[in-house]
Amino acid sequence: MTGSLLVQSLILGVLLGGLYALLAAGLTLYFGVMRVVMIAHSAFLILAAYLAWYANSKLGIDPLLTLVVTVPLFFGVGVVMQRLLIRRLRPATLTMMSVLLTFAIALFIEGLIGFVWGGTQRRTQLPYSSSSLEIFGARIAVVKLIAFGLAALSLLALYLLMKHTRFGQALRATIQHPEAAQLVGIKTDRVAGLGFGLGLATAALGGTALSLDATIYPSLHWHWIGPLMAIIVVGGLGSIPGAAIAALVLGVGQSLLQVPLGTTWAQTIFYVALFVTLMVRPQGFFGGRLAQRF
């Protein structure tokens, strides 16, 4: 690989990794507050991307503006989902049943998207879709930079929220030790609902970022949930920093592999990493106190 190609792959990998990191953080949130493996996370991601594309192609609005609507909307949907659906599940089989339930939701959303917008591939065309910047000698599309910027800002906001607000504290306490959190007066039920909403909000942010640059189609979510789940297992179930680090590492890895191996084979890196993690350190590499054997 030539030098400039290497640099470009690296940068693209970082940009991709940022998006993965945001989405993996969201996925970790559901798991942290409620031990729920939210398979529908990427389906919502794609839904947000479709909404952004639709707003742009039919109403001429810049996709980033749709955030104003989609983020609070998805947040609300997340809270409602936790209240109405997840809470109904029996605690004994919660994790298992939540997998099946969110899997069902994912199928439902995919079907809905296909039903409403058809199965053809869509791509958002923006006036600045084809412009690019030169960074360290590599040409990087502006849309990719914007997407990364959005992801990075969101992650920063999430970090500030978790570390420096009362709600964030309550959230972290609920994740670490729900019983203890209840004992100090935290309404863990409400926090869990809000945590869920927060997770779906990251899907909205991620989806909008995705819409800037990617070709979308209804079954695309399967190409995201696989890598995302592999990321959170490699990072360590329940650890947001772990997920972020694993996301960056694997994102860069995928990007680097794309040149010699092509897109299809480069995607296998996530599953190889998953396999290695299972054999060597099933509880994950970068933290994850919650990663016992569930």
């Binding site: 659906l85 298992m96 199928l107 959303i109 039903f115 998953l274 396999f275 299972l278 099933p282 054997r293």
Partner: protein
Amino acid sequence: MPNASSTLAAPSRETTTRQPTSRRTRRIAAALALVVGALVVALFPSMAPNAYILSAGVVVLSYACTATSWNFMGGFTGYISLGHAAYFGLGAYGTGIIIRELELPSFVAWALAGVVVAIITVPIGIAALRVRGASFVIVSISFVLILLLVFQGWGSFTGGSNGLVVPRPFPDLMRPEHHRVFFYLFAALLAVMLVLWWAIDRSRFGIGLKAIREDEDKAEALGIPTRNYKLVAYVVSATLTGLAGGMYALWFGDLDPIFQFSILLGSYMVLMALLGGIRNLFGPLVGAVIVGVALEVFKLEFGDTQFHLVATGLLLGLVVLFMPDGIIPAVQAGLRRLGPQSSSIREMTASELAERNAAAGINGDSVFSGGPAAREQSPDPAVARHAGGPTPAPEEER
């Protein structure tokens, strides 16, 4: 005062004489249902109005096979694999590739593909079973996704996105005959699976697996070699699924990675087994019939839209929320409520009870009417229900 030890002075005989009657009627009903079912299967091809309906029947039977084979793992051990289509695809492609490379007769290739699946599943199972619950589900999904990638990418070997054509074992047969033969072949495969499931269900291996499902660590503490047991169940489940896939390949003749390594197929398997009841022998079969027929109807009504995804998602969600044990247990419970009430805790006649109470110094009202004795009971109303009305609770204390 009556307590745990004193209630045992006279071990009950009533329960043992009550059970055989209702057990016998249940057995007769089950045998009858079995005969009817077998007749339906045997006569269906003759009764089917056209070749399309017959092929739909074959599809439903293939679903029944995969749902039942899935249930060897999901039902017995409680480990839910959402990516089981991986083994279906491996069996299908395995059969096709073996026929192409080794030029063996169709069914020899089919059996050999099954062996290959079994061998491949051992290291995969060892890795996957290092985690449990949700992590295991994640791993299973990842497995089918990676196989999808591999089979799409390795065009030279697998035909990639162009698919793989599998030569028909009986090239001279007309289509209706072809469907008819495979209808019976799938039925035979299903029968074999059902017999094996039944054999495991009543065996030591089976009870060990069920213990793993209930409480894996406890099972291990009681001496069950859980790792080995799980692995065997997994390999058996995968191999049977692979055989179903191979049979499908021989019947359908045309393979495509997207349809063979499909999460949707995997979710159908789970849905069917859950819907029918994963703890029951015929649960997956019942679920397969219901879902399979519904799918065919949807296809006719709504054509090729994404609607079947919406319907599958909705149905799966409803089953998980409202009927997690499935249809068969719900029906069984309903029938039990309609039939003669038999209690599993010893029942006494009123005079026996009065006698006993007099001896213990209690008089009058039910032991459930307050006091420390009542609170000693588990608050679960099911306990009260099982205990029947007047039976004094063994844990009582005054």
